[in-house]
């Protein structure tokens, strides 16, 4: 449980470890698309960390094919993402049309691969890697939703033309990570 809160808040995937920034900036214009993007990434990320662990301990470690780790992880993640995209296209074409290019882009989302690799690097057991993956994904979704609400508020306020759109988005993201520094050194000892 502590690990879950730790990865979600203290070293949040996006704002502290700066992973997965491109969907974070790209899909956060509207609150509901950000939420669905977050959920899609949670689904993929948790599956990826589970698959990562299985691959590591049943295939790569016994045959010490460590060098294959990134390649095989990416293969599995791509498959899971492709599957997710098909499910979303089938269930709601509107959502698929809105998420657009960012859905297949989850494959290249550095948070997904990053978390899977971190799992192996930290030597997490099965349960730990699942909670780590879930915590990172929940952190990602939480921050996506907060950031989307902030950007929706910016959309209706008259931001000066020079800053409108992406620039103010980057500034707010910076300030948000400044705020998340407050959680630095948080330990429930």
């Amino acid at each position: 449980m502590l690990l879950l809160v730790g990865t979600a808040l203290v070293n949040n995937v996006v704002l502290v470890q700066f992973l997965g920034l491109c969907p974070f900036m790209g899909v956060s214009n509207k609150l509901d698309t950000a939420l669905s993007m977050g959920l899609a990434t949670t689904f993929v990320l948790t599956l990826a960390s589970v698959a990562g662990w299985l691959l590591e301990y049943f295939v790569l470690a016994p045959l010490d094919l460590g060098f294959l780790r990134i390649l095989s992880f990416i293969l599995v993640i791509a498959a899971v993402v492709q599957f997710t995209e098909m499910v979303i296209r089938k269930t709601s074409a509107a959502l698929h049309q809105v998420l657009g290019i960012f859905l297949p882009l989850i494959t290249t989302n550095c948070a997904v691969l990053g978390v899977a690799l971190l799992n192996v690097q930290e030597g997490h057991g099965f349960l730990q890697s699942v909670t780590f993956g879930l915590g990172a994904a929940l952190g990602f979704t939480l921050v996506m939703v907060i950031f989307a609400a902030l950007r929706e508020r910016l959309a209706i306020s008259n931001v000066p033309a020079a800053f409108a759109g992406a620039p103010i988005g980057f500034i707010v993201a910076g300030l948000l990570s400044l705020a998340f520094m407050g959680f630095a050194g948080l330990n429930f000892a």
């Binding site: 209706i156 306020s157 008259n158």
Partner: protein, 516 residues
């Protein structure tokens, strides 16, 4: 200190503007002398404009109908006095835009000869339909400012089970005292009007609702209603917008009208005190609606007063009667300061819905420079409909009208409480009026585009039908020509065969040629 002991608030939100009625609440109603000209617009009510039935040069009697209601939702217009019709032409309408409206101009002849009127008769044994029909003929509309044709509400009685009739005597707008004076000086006629309306609607009980800042009116009504069991007078706390139909129903019965429904759907109908008085004169006295009581007030008026004014009298005549203005008013309003409208100039006529002419000075308006919205939430607390004015205004500012509708723009009754409390002096209500106007224009454009798409579709089908018909016709003609050719070939072949046969029998060819 006794904050908690106050009984359940009448409704959420609302504001407490200083009512500033002292200037005119003590003054009795005084009639306005006959003006030189009367300008009667054909559009004095909600719904379709009335259709004029007189032309320039006709002479009319007092009370004669000069424009007939057009269609279901409309109201007739009558001549306020006898005289000659000068013209039926566009004149400036009593509207902030200053745009013209079709107006019937009457030149009074001063004799005030009345149309022969059937004598008054006992109204309470009339059928509701007849009452509604008389009210419609008399051109009675909601006198509180909404000007909705009253007859339609009376007919609602037959289609819905009405258990409560509320007579709105709250008059929550500052400065206005016309209803107050009406209730005090003409209590009997008002009560009689209420009995007629209650009878027409078949309502179980009727409540006359008066705000507690008008004790004399309340006392007058209670004295008169003492022996009646079905009609009572009821005091409600002074709070703006108590006069709004939705909030009066909530304050009196505790029930809320579901969104998109009418008061009648939950068994409640609201009429203004002025409407009750007009119904009394229409049904019992058989007099059409030709005059109304108008409060002339505001800091810029020399001598504020409550005047009984013929419809069509120009505002400049009222102001002249009240001694003109001490200083040019910052804003000349028709109606109260909260929901009233700015008049472009004083050459606009009084119509059925104008309950007040208020000439305000700049201090009274407390004009402040508009600053950006600081999201303080006072407008959210003040909104009696439970909306978020700041969010709606922010979206309208960004031309996102649908976003404003999602935040409840269509539930807004434009009472003005939010703009009243806004520390940044933002004209929130004008944003909402603008948005509703744009959405109305869009719906109109959408309707026209569908219409044009249908026409284009029709034309295409007509052209295809024509083309098909032409093709078939060409087909048929070709077929006929072939048939004809074929017949001709056969005939030629037959003739050739006969000719050949004739060669073998030379003796009879001459006869054949002569015959052929």
């Amino acid at each position: 200190m006794f904050f908690f002991m106050r009984k359940r608030p009448a409704f959420k939100g609302g504001v407490h503007p200083d009512d500033r009625k002292q200037a005119t609440s003590g003054l009795p109603i005084e009639p306005l002398p006959l003006p030189a000209r009367l300008y009667l617009p054909v559009q004095q009510h909600i719904g379709a404009a009335a259709r004029p039935v007189v032309t320039a040069g006709d002479t009319v009697l007092k009370g004669q109908m000069i424009a007939r209601g057009d269609g279901a939702v409309s109201a007739a217009v009558h001549a306020p006095t006898s005289g000659r019709i000068l013209a039926v032409e566009p004149h400036p309408a009593p509207h902030p835009s200053g745009l013209p409206v079709e107006t019937i101009v009457i030149e009074p002849d001063g004799e005030d000869r009345r149309q022969e009127e059937p004598d008054p008769e006992h109204a309470l044994n009339l059928e509701p339909e007849i009452i509604a029909q008389r009210v419609a003929e008399a051109g009675v509309v909601g006198m509180g400012g909404a000007t909705f044709p009253a007859a339609i509400k009376l007919n609602l009685g037959s289609r819905h089970h009405i258990d409560t009739l509320i007579i709105n005597g709250s008059e929550c707008e500052p400065y206005l005292t016309c209803d107050d004076r009406l209730m005090r000086e003409r209590t009997d006629e008002v009560v009689d009007g209420i009995r007629i309306i209650r009878h027409a609607l078949g309502a179980r009980r009727a409540l006359v609702v008066v705000e507690d800042n008008k004790p004399e009116a309340l006392a007058a009504l209670q004295a008169r209603l003492y022996e009646m069991d079905t009609i009572e007078a009821m005091a409600v706390p002074t709070r703006y917008p108590m006069g709004s139909e939705k909030h009066m129903i909530k304050a009196v019965t505790g029930r809320e009208i579901p969104a998109g429904k009418l008061g009648a759907d939950i068994g409640v109908i609201v009429h203004n005190v002025g409407t009750a008085y007009a119904v009394h004169r229409a049904v019992r006295m058989r007099r059409p609606l030709i005059s109304r009581i108008v409060t002339v007030g505001g800091g810029a008026v020399q001598r504020p007063a409550n005047l009984e004014v013929l419809l069509g009298t120009r505002v400049e005549d009222l102001l002249a009667h009240c001694g003109g203005t001490r200083q040019p008013p910052a804003r000349l309003l028709m109606g109260g300061p909260m929901m009233g409208q700015v008049m472009p100039h004083a050459q606009v006529p009084i119509i059925k819905g104008s309950n007040g002419i208020i000439a305000l000075t700049a201090e009274e308006i407390n004009i402040g420079e508009t600053m950006p919205c600081i999201r303080c939430g006072r407008c959210v607390a003040a909104c009696p409909c439970g909306l978020m004015p700041l969010e709606m205004a922010a979206r309208i500012r960004k031309e996102d009208m649908d976003g404003a509708v999602d935040y409840g723009l269509m539930d807004c009754v434009a009472c003005g409480s939010c703009s009243y409390v806004c520390p940044s002096h933002i004209p929130l209500v004008q944003f909402f009026h603008h948005a509703k106007g744009v959405l109305g224009a869009r719906r109109e454009q959408q309707r026209r585009q569908e219409e044009i798409k249908r026409l284009a579709q029709q034309r295409r089908e007509r052209q295809e039908a024509e083309a098909r018909a032409k093709a078939e016709a060409a087909e048929r003609r070709k077929a006929e020509r072939e048939a004809a050719k074929r017949k001709a070939d056969e005939a030629k072949a037959a003739r050739a065969a006969k000719a050949a046969a004739a060669k073998e029998t030379p003796k009879t060819p001459a006869a054949d040629e002569a015959k052929a």
